[in-house]
């Protein structure tokens, strides 16, 4: 099967993620969309590793997974704190700084 198809899937996932970040209002969902973008990048890395015939891209994928896990820890901590202070995880409510 043509490896380029995986690149199209990865670009599609990345675009869905990016649109989700811009469109969705719930901080958790926005964050999930960011994770989708990271995984789309991972898919691109692995596909390119296959095309280039070396393992570097697969190694990067492992690093990305670890970093994404760290990001979940920090991100959920921040989102949960703000949810507890105002009982809402909507990014539209977080607008005190706009003035």
């Amino acid at each position: 099967m043509n490896a380029a198809n995986y690149l199209y899937v990865s670009a599609l996932l990345f675009t869905i993620g990016a649109i989700g970040v811009v469109v969705r209002r719930n901080a958790i969902v926005v964050f999930m969309c960011v994770e989708l973008m990271l995984n789309a990048s991972n898919l691109a890395f692995v596909t390119f590793a296959r095309i280039n015939g070396n393992l570097d891209g697969q190694v990067v994928a492992f690093f990305t997974m670890v970093v994404a896990a760290c990001e979940v820890v920090v991100g959920l901590a921040i989102i949960v704190t703000i949810y507890r202070s105002r009982r809402s995880a909507s990014v539209d409510d977080a607008s005190l700084l706009k003035r």
Partner: protein, 506 residues
Amino acid sequence: MNTFLSPVLNYSLLSPILVVLGGAVIGVLIEAFASRKVRPIAQLSVTFGTLLLALIQVWRIRGQSSLSAAMGSVVIDGPTLLMQGSILVISLLAVGLIADQEHFTALAAATPGSAEEHASIQSGEQLTEIYPLTLFAVAGMLLFPAANDLITLFVALEMLSLPLYLMAGLSRRRRVLSQEAALKYFLLGAFSSAFFLFGAAYLYGYSGSVSLDGIRESVIGGSGNDVILLIGIAFLSIGLLFKVGAVPFHAWSPDVYQGAPTPVTAFMAAATKVAAFGAMLRIFYTAFANAYWEWRPMLTGIAIITMFFGSVVAIAQRDIKRMLAYSSIAHAGFLLTGVIALNKAGLEASLFYLFAYGVATVGAFGIVTLVRDSSGEVTDLKRWTGLGKRSPFVASLFAAFLLAFAGIPLTSGFIGKFSIFSAAYESGNHAIVLVGVLSSAIAAYFYIRVIVLMFFSDPVEDGTTVIIPSVLTWVTVLGSFAITIFLGVFPTPFLNFISSLAVFLR
């Protein structure tokens, strides 16, 4: 069957990064096991000691350079060491501000206004997790400009960002605002690192190698698919431009600068900028240097918009922290001209500018922490009216930092701006120099407006006072002031020092 080769590390060249990481781990252990009484002083001394030790290490290895410090992943050369030195000096100054625990919430996990929060304030308990977080961020910043492959770049980027997201939410006063700043910084930061990673994937796809040298060779060879290269450069640049706060990726910075505790803002504004521009300079001067026709027009456009937008919007700001945020956006534009110049003069000028700007920023935010009323810091510009009559000394120091930002002669800002614009002129990019000088003139207007407001208007009696600063805050503010003036009056030894070291090893 291949035998496993153990990696060869040059520990002496990596020591600044390793020392800071070690200090951070010790800080975590102190936080967990030390008693409440000794904790603040123990954390402070560990943090100071670590940063000082790392700075001494940087000084000791200053003449050395090596591509194989960590199996090719980390490159130690003149620019790396200069940037690591700048980051460490700026962090040392910023820790002087962070040491004032008045700015940080006693218990970050407690909901604002809850009984739990009251109890923690009553009991006088104060968590000091800010110190290890600072050290982890500093370690990431030291690694970022030294990274020589895409994996290290990405890991270092996250290493410096993740602690900063948390630090932005630790303010004691106006806690909801601070948490909001943390949320915004986190979501947009994670968004931009996804772009960075996607760009990295395409660069790897283009060259078949994750190292910057490999990418450079593929670019010179020019046999790969140019579309893939272009996508890679564009997405990687978005990630980096977000970190430096260039327009149109600046939306987070005024909000985060305003919401975060002021010492954290000082640290973040100064040190992150050095680290991010450090990495950017390395990537564009080594990996992408031979593809400059691909990225120069894009970056020139962004630099022009950034300089202009930052300067113009800063005029309309009524909050001093927001004004400084927009000023930092304008400065990111000035620094981008150094990246675009793509010559040795541009590199030297950027290195000087970064250090000068970083130090002045820490000093300026240091002054902002001093102006308070009963409910905390006063950041409304209107209430700074007549500050020069009430406390002439503090106001004069602030005026000096503002003049340095504006680039008035006898301050470090003038030398920085002059050298960066002459480097851009030398590279033949005259339009950008013109916009740069014009934006500097616009920017000078709002800096001088603040000075006029402080010195030539009568003070309003509304409870705004300048508090007596702690010793460490004094050291930070006066130290920044001394460096700013010294670099403005006697820049030659420092410029020569930079010039003797500023060559990228590749």
